[in-house]
Structure formats: structure tokens, C-alpha cells
Symmetry: D2
Subunit: 152 residues, 4 copies
Amino acid sequence: MSHELLKTYPVVIELPVAWGEMDALRHVNNIVYFRYFESARMAYFTRLRIWNYMNETGIGPILASTGCKFKLPLVYPDTVSVGTRISEIEADRFVMKYVVVSHQHAKVAAEGEGLVVSYDYRALRKAPLPDEIKTRIEALEKSVESGTPDGG
Amino acid sequence: MSHELLKTYPVVIELPVAWGEMDALRHVNNIVYFRYFESARMAYFTRLRIWNYMNETGIGPILASTGCKFKLPLVYPDTVSVGTRISEIEADRFVMKYVVVSHQHAKVAAEGEGLVVSYDYRALRKAPLPDEIKTRIEALEKSVESGTPDGG
Amino acid sequence: MSHELLKTYPVVIELPVAWGEMDALRHVNNIVYFRYFESARMAYFTRLRIWNYMNETGIGPILASTGCKFKLPLVYPDTVSVGTRISEIEADRFVMKYVVVSHQHAKVAAEGEGLVVSYDYRALRKAPLPDEIKTRIEALEKSVESGTPDGG
Amino acid sequence: MSHELLKTYPVVIELPVAWGEMDALRHVNNIVYFRYFESARMAYFTRLRIWNYMNETGIGPILASTGCKFKLPLVYPDTVSVGTRISEIEADRFVMKYVVVSHQHAKVAAEGEGLVVSYDYRALRKAPLPDEIKTRIEALEKSVESGTPDGG
């Protein structure tokens, strides 16, 4: 789904809504949206080749906090597109934004964000965000801007 | 994925493997295969228009038992195709067969089955499988056989 | 577990950590915390007899947003106590606070909150929070304060 | 819960039914029963100190197949007791039996079984079940029999 609602997100994944993810209120259960966010985050990290970097250096991402605003209940059958972008980069952390778009409704079903901290898994403490990762994030984010008419 | 391994299954769905569905052994957790089966079952039921029938008559399917044989561990990233067919029809029940095929390996990751009983949700007791549903099942199953070279 | 960390929470539930809820990083997966919050929320709603009220009037709670700060990774085997309280009541909504305490560590593993909106499920729109529910919330919250030395 | 229905099971765990584990049919979703079985299996393995053995030798259990018969739908709120026993031991495998008892109904909600194969995680192939583990299983199973009148 290539949609106006997703055009500022450099990484977009598509996921089918599973019948069994609806709860007794007959809507997709609230925890499933965080699974959507996680899958989108992992797709973004793959684009950054962050796991290779982590295997070599021991420095990788850790989710410090996350949140979701529910806009529209999701119901089976449907497919969602989940867009992700990184909106703020600081010395040892960045903020990811998520949007969940329902194909049935062509509307935003939920918006979320996550704070990801750079962590040294060998030293067991926070670590500065490596320059290499920061550069890759900036390049990936720029790919979206340059795709818009007034990009550049 | 149109694969030899799936050709006897009239209903096939594709599902992405989610990173968060792996457990501490770094394989897709065993309960996730039953979610795959459920999603495949629901896709098959949709093809039978079983929910409309249930809304009109109160007679619908209930899962009486299910099982799975694990053949190959699944790991993120991967996509699975899940095929479903109905192998035995009796007066008040039928047996569904499931197969999970890993795209990464082009191999069967798991095989399963489910016993589905026809249930009168208004009278709260087992009910004969309606002829109409039985006819639809037979037509759907035949669609696969006739698709094979020596079909019919 | 009757713990200092939980004493300001009028509703506390205990939940075992399931092995299968750990992910490939060998910590309890982030979405599980939102299941903990949900279970705590339902326990609180039960104490308010909110479901009876909803059946009679059609007015009930809807989760508008939720978030979690992760403080300490959880690992199987462990048991968590999840405390809930309502911190702010407005005309048509209230804010719930959650705390997850690990028994292994006797420390806070996570803190969260949820914004719950009063919804008329018959008219399909927001509704004022019924006085009766507001009174029950205040009584339940007061039960904790009066348990403290300077309570009341 | 110390119940007649559980008395032949040497390992019994108690788990609360979570509201969010009910699906759109307002019963606990079928995949949750396999989570119950898994939690029971892990509790049994802990009693066998199987993980220590695995860390030392590389030989551990792997789930080859599992199945469940659903007897009674579970509904929130409820608590289940899940009993586990090992019913058959062969050279390189054993069969576990599970029973799920609803406290609300004091009845069996489901019965299941799992085939567990002994696996050499270093050599990546099946391995004979170590005598030490076999002896521990027999001792644990005997603990139940000796609790019955004609035990011994």
C-alpha cells in the first residue's frame, strides 16, 4: 500500500490482521499494536544493518519506553501497513514514530512511538550512539524526503 | 508462493514470521504454529461463507481438538505459506489438515490437523453438518484435484 | 506480595512470568507488559462493578492510549505484582497508573499508564463518566489512603 | 487446588485466566492451552533440573509434537490448574500428558500431550535420553503413585 498517510515513513511493512488477535470486544487487542510496532522496528533495524554492528561491537539498541494512541478499532479481515521513522536523534538515544494504517478504512488506526537507547551489551551500560549508525539513520530518513516533490 | 508442497491444499495463506514470536531458544515458539493453523482455518471458512450460514442458522464450527508435528525450526526473518484442506467429512464433523512451508528453506516446517465439529450455538449441542456446507467443502476440495494434470 | 512499592495502589494482582513470554533476547517481551496492564485494569474494573453498569446503561470504558517505561528486564522464573490506581478523573475520562514489581528483585520492573475514556457503546460516542462510577473510583482510591498513617 | 482430577500428576501449576486471552468467541483462545502446556512442561523440567544438565552436556529436550482435546470452554475470570506427568519413556524420547482443570467448574477443560525428544544441541542430532534424567523422571513419577492408597 503506497499511501499518502505513509509517505514520510522510510520503512513500511504490511501485516495481515489475524482473527485470533481480536479479543472479547471483537477488536484487535491493544497489545497487538505493540507487536506491530516491534515488527516495524525490527524491519527498520534490518535496514540499518544494526545487528551486524551489534555482533561486532556489542553495542545495540534497547527499548526504554513505548506508547500508543488508538484511533480506530481494527477488525478481521484487514491488512495493516505499519510505517516507521526516526524523529529525534540524541547522543545516546533516538525516538521512533510508528503509524498503523488500516487498508479496509484507508485511515490511521493507531500512532505510536518508542524511545530506543544505545546500549553496550558487553559492559552492561548505556553507550553513545555510534557515528556509523547515526549516519545510516540520516541517510535512510533522507531517502523519504528526497522522494517528495519538494524534497532535497 | 506456488509450491509443489502446497498443491493439494485448496486454501493457502502467506504470513510473515514476526521477530517477537521467537522465544528464548531463538526459534518461533510452538504456540505460534497453532495461530498459523487458526488463520488458515479462518481463511478456509471464509471461502465456505460459513459465517453467513452461522448467522442465519446458528449452526457453526467448533474446534474439538488439534495437533502439530514440528519438522523444522522457524527463525526470523522468514515468510510461511500455510495450506489447508479438509481430508475427512463425517455426519457431524470434519478433519482439517495443515501444512506450514518455510520460504527460506522451501521445506515443510510443520504439519498439523484439527477436528472441527458442527455445533448448534442456539441449542448448545452438536448438530449434523449442513448439506449446503458439505457441498461447498466438496467443491472447494475438488478445485485442487482438477488443477492437477491427472485431476478429475 | 505486600510491598512498600505497591502500597499506594488499591488493586494489586499477582501473575507468574511464563517461560514462553521471553523473546530471543531472553527477557520478557515488551508486549507482555501491556497484557499485565490489561489484566490489572480488568481487576480494577471488576472492583468497580463496571461491567454490570455497562450492561445496564451501555456506557463503558474504552482504552484511548497507553504507554510503558521499562526499568528492569524480567526473566523466567519470576512472579510479578501489578498495582493499579486512578490518578486523575475528568468529566469523560480518567488516567490509570500501573506498576510492575518483580518478586525476584523486589524492584520496579516497569511503570505505565493508560487513558480510559467513557464511551456510550449504544450511541457510539464519548459519554460523561457516570457519577456512580466516579463515586466508586473515589471510594476505592480512598481505601488506600486511609491505610497510610496520615490517611483520611 | 488439590483435586482428585490432578492426583496422578506429580507437577501441578496454577495460572490465572487473563481477560485478554479470550478471543472474539468470548472463550479462551485455543493457542493459549499450548502456552499452559508449555508452562507446565517447564515446571516439570525445572523439577528434573534438566537445564543444569543441558548446560553441562549440551543434551536437552526438544518438543517434536503436541496436541490438545478441548473439553470445556474457559472464560475469564477463572484460574486453571495444569497437571503434567510423563507416561512413556523410550530410549531417546518420552511422552508428557497434560490436564487443564478449571477452578470455576472443578472440571477438566482440556487434555493434551507432547512428545519430547532428547537432543544433542552441540552435535545437532537426536541423543539417547541420559540415564540420570531417566532416573529423575522415574523418581518424580513414583512420588505420585506412593501418594495413592495402593501406591508402592
